[in-house]
Structure formats: C-alpha cells, structure tokens
C-alpha cells in the first residue's frame, strides 16, 4: 500500500511525501474548486491554501475515518464554498451559471491529447444527464445522498445504484 505509506509519512510532516501527494491530487482539487468558483486565479489561490491547510492540520486526518483524498476534497469544497459566500467574491459579481462540470470539460479546447483526456471526453460525450447530475452533486458539490435525492427528486436507493453505474462507466473510460 504505497499510498497508505505516503499518507503516514505526510502525517509525520515529511515534505517529500507531501509533494508526491500534491502531485497526485493538486489538479483534482483545482478542478473541484474551479467548478465552484469559476475563476482561475481564485481557484489557484484556494487550491494552494487547501494544501497548506492540510499540511498544518495533518494531525486531524484519521485513516480509519476515510480516504485521504476524501478528506482533502472536503477541505477543498469547503474552502471554495466559503469563498463564494464571501462579500468580496459576491461584489466581484461572478456570474455563477448552473453549468455542470461537463460543460467546462467540453469547453476546454486546449485539452491535451493524453489518453486520460480522450477517455474523459468520450465518457462525457456519451454520459447520461442523470449520471452527470449525480456525479456533480456527490463529488463536486459534496451533497449528501439525502440532499442529492431531494435535489434530483429521486429515491435515496436510486442515487446509490445510479452513482455506482455511472462511476463504473467512468472507470471503463479512464482506467
């Protein structure tokens, strides 16, 4: 379990291990934050703040309570949502449209030609609207199952199985 060792070293304040974790997750966190704030400069700042916060709060992460990635994405989402609620952010009159993450992916004409990117594009292209909504709410926005079921007007059990199927499709496309 390489990842587990990295996380243990990170908790022991090992900068090298933290750098590896950063390289693994910084784009992911940036994507999550960008999807919420829709401003590249702010997203970059917040992403860096998230990793610094994680570094200083490394004691509070408990491997038994969840994945390191899950812990990190929670910090990122909260930081981004806090930002959108701040006065300064509102005054800057950000036009937060209700586009889903897929719109961002599709609008990115500079997507590199890596297999990942191609896989994601394929996935997004054929993805059912219900999948997009569920993934958006559960992973990008941090909705609970219950909140998502209310938002999508869907029974909780359906959210769970639909999400399972959607992620399965995603895995087939990108892994």
């Amino acid at each position: 379990m390489d990842l587990d060792n990295l996380v243990i070293q990170f908790k022991n304040k090992d900068e090298k291990a933290f750098e590896k974790l950063y390289n693994m997750y910084s784009d992911s966190m940036h994507g999550v934050i960008y999807n919420i704030v829709r401003d590249n400069t702010i997203a970059e700042e917040l992403m860096q703040d998230v990793f610094i916060k994680a570094w200083h709060k490394s004691d509070s992460y408990d491997v038994k309570k969840g994945r390191f990635f899950t812990w990190l994405i929670n910090i990122a989402r909260n930081a981004a949502i806090d930002k959108t609620r701040s006065k300064a952010f509102k005054n800057a009159s950000k036009n937060l449209n209700s586009d889903f993450f897929v719109d961002i992916i599709e609008s990115q004409d500079n997507l590199d030609s890596s297999t990942d990117a191609i896989g994601i594009k394929k996935f997004v292209d054929k993805l059912a609207k219900k999948c997009i909504e569920v993934i958006e709410l559960l992973y990008f926005k941090g909705f609970t199952q219950k909140e998502a079921s209310e938002e999508l007007n869907m029974p909780i059990g359906t959210i769970k199985t639909r999400n399972r199927n959607c992620i399965k499709e995603l895995r087939e496309s990108v892994l």
Binding site: G119, K160, R164, I167, L170
Partner: protein, 266 residues
C-alpha cells in the same frame, strides 16, 4: 456477508465521496484490510474520480514549489502578514526602547563626568593646599635647624635680657654671631606691642652709656616663632629693647625700656 454484493451496493462510491457515517466508514476501512478486492475497488473508484475532477482543472501546472515556502509558517497567508506586522512593531518598540536606554545612559555619563570633574577639582585644590603646607613645613624645619645650629655654635654669644620697670615679666635672648656681625633675637618673652608701637633694639656701650639703634621689629605679630635677625657691627657691651612709636626713635625712650642684658664677660 457476501463481499461482491457489498461492493455492488454502491457503498464504496459513497465512501470515496465522503457520504458515509463514521461507523460505516470504519466498516469499509476494516473490510479493505481484510479483503483485497474491496481495497482494489476503492482505489479504482478513487483513481477515476481523481481523473475526472482533474480534467475540470484548466491545468496551469502549479508546482509544489509555490507552496513549499509556506509550509513551515505556522499559519496561512493572512496571518503571515500579521506576523510581519507584529515583527515590525517589535522592531519599532525595541528601537525606541534602545533610544531611551541610550539617552538615559548618556545623561548618566554626563552627570558622572561632571561629578568626577568636581572631585578632581577638589582633590587638586587639596593637593595644592597640602603642597603649600609641606613647603611651609620644610621652610619652618630649615629655619628651626638653622636656629638650633646657631644656638649650639660655640662662637655665638648668648645674652639673656631681663625684664625692666616698664615690663617686669618680660624677657628676651640675644645670640650674637660676631663672625657675621649678626644678632638673633628671641623675643618670645615680650608682650605684643600695642597699635602704632614697635620694639626697637639697641646696642649699648657702657662707659659712657651710648645707645646705637640696630633697627625696629615691624613684623613682631606676624612672626610665629618670634626669632628675629638683625645686623650688628658694633662692639656691643649690652643690649636693650624699648617700645617706640612705629618707625623707631633716634634715641631710646628709657621709660619704655622693656628688657636689658649685659655681656657676661664684662
């Protein structure tokens, strides 16, 4: 529990999303340790989500180095600024404190210098005074030694002068050095002359009685040891001292004859 059913329930996807309760999460964690297929499933779900979320990022390739420098600060950027501010404040305060201490030290030094200068002045004055005293003592000692030598000298003639009618209690001594034609007068036994009067010393020859003035003693009161030196080239047979008006008289006033003494050899 059927592990495949568990995996297919969709609970692991929710686990990665962070939507499980603490108890459920702990259960997943324990199962991951027990069943490699559960762990594999979780890792794959996680990897897929990481890739999906990363694909939303405009990917500016923000290097770890940009945050590396901030890792060892104990706070986030906002607090770093406040730390700098407090540092500046500290420098300001310590600067002022140092200035006050310096000023205090300077004033103290100036006071100290002035005090020491006064002390030096006092000591110098004392030293001067002591030097003068020492010089006076030396002079006194030399004079005394000189007198002692004169008194002891064999060739010197000693003539005691007895008190007369005008001053029965008075007395004097004459030491006559014939080689030098000098007389030394010890007038310790004479009272202080009144204002406007001086003692006048006379050399006498007896047949006929002829007085010759040797001079007046105009510094009787000022002289401490009352020893006076006068010239005497006469063939004296006796010496007398009279009280005369200041400046002396051509002839002695016999009513004011204080002391008189005749040479013993006569």
């Amino acid at each position: 529990m059927n592990i495949n059913d568990y995996i297919n329930s969709g609970i692991l996807e929710l686990y990665v999303a962070g939507q499980l309760s603490e108890t459920e999460s702990k259960e997943v964690y324990d199962l991951m340790l027990k069943h490699p297929e559960v762990l594999k499933e979780v890792l794959e779900i996680e990897a897929a989500i990481v890739k999906l979320t990363a694909s939303v990022s405009p990917k500016k390739d923000i290097s770890f180095n940009t945050i590396k420098g901030r890792l060892n600060n104990n706070s986030t950027s906002g607090k770093v600024i406040s730390l700098n501010r407090s540092k500046t404040k500290w420098i300001n305060y310590s600067g002022w404190a140092a200035a006050v201490v310096l000023a205090g030290g300077l004033i103290w030094t100036i006071n100290m210098k002035s005090t020491l200068e006064n002390q030096i002045q006092t000591v110098t004055t004392e030293k001067d005074f002591l030097e003068i005293q020492m010089e006076t003592s030396k002079t006194d000692l030399a004079e005394t030694k000189n007198l002692l030598n004169i008194i002891r000298d064999k060739s010197i003639i000693n003539i005691p002068l007895e008190g007369q009618a005008a001053a029965p209690g008075a007395y004097a001594n004459v030491y006559w050095d014939k080689k030098d034609d000098t007389v030394y007068l010890d007038l310790k036994g004479l009272p202080e002359p009144p204002e406007g009067k001086e003692y006048q010393v006379w050399s006498l020859t007896l047949n006929p009685l002829t007085p010759t003035s040797l001079g007046t003693i105009n510094d009787f009161i000022q002289d401490d040891n009352k020893i006076f030196k006068l010239k005497n080239a006469n063939q004296s047979q006796a010496f007398g001292i009279t009280l005369e008006p200041a400046g002396g008289s051509p002839t002695p006033t016999m009513e004011q004859l204080y002391t008189l003494g005749v040479l013993a050899s006569l």
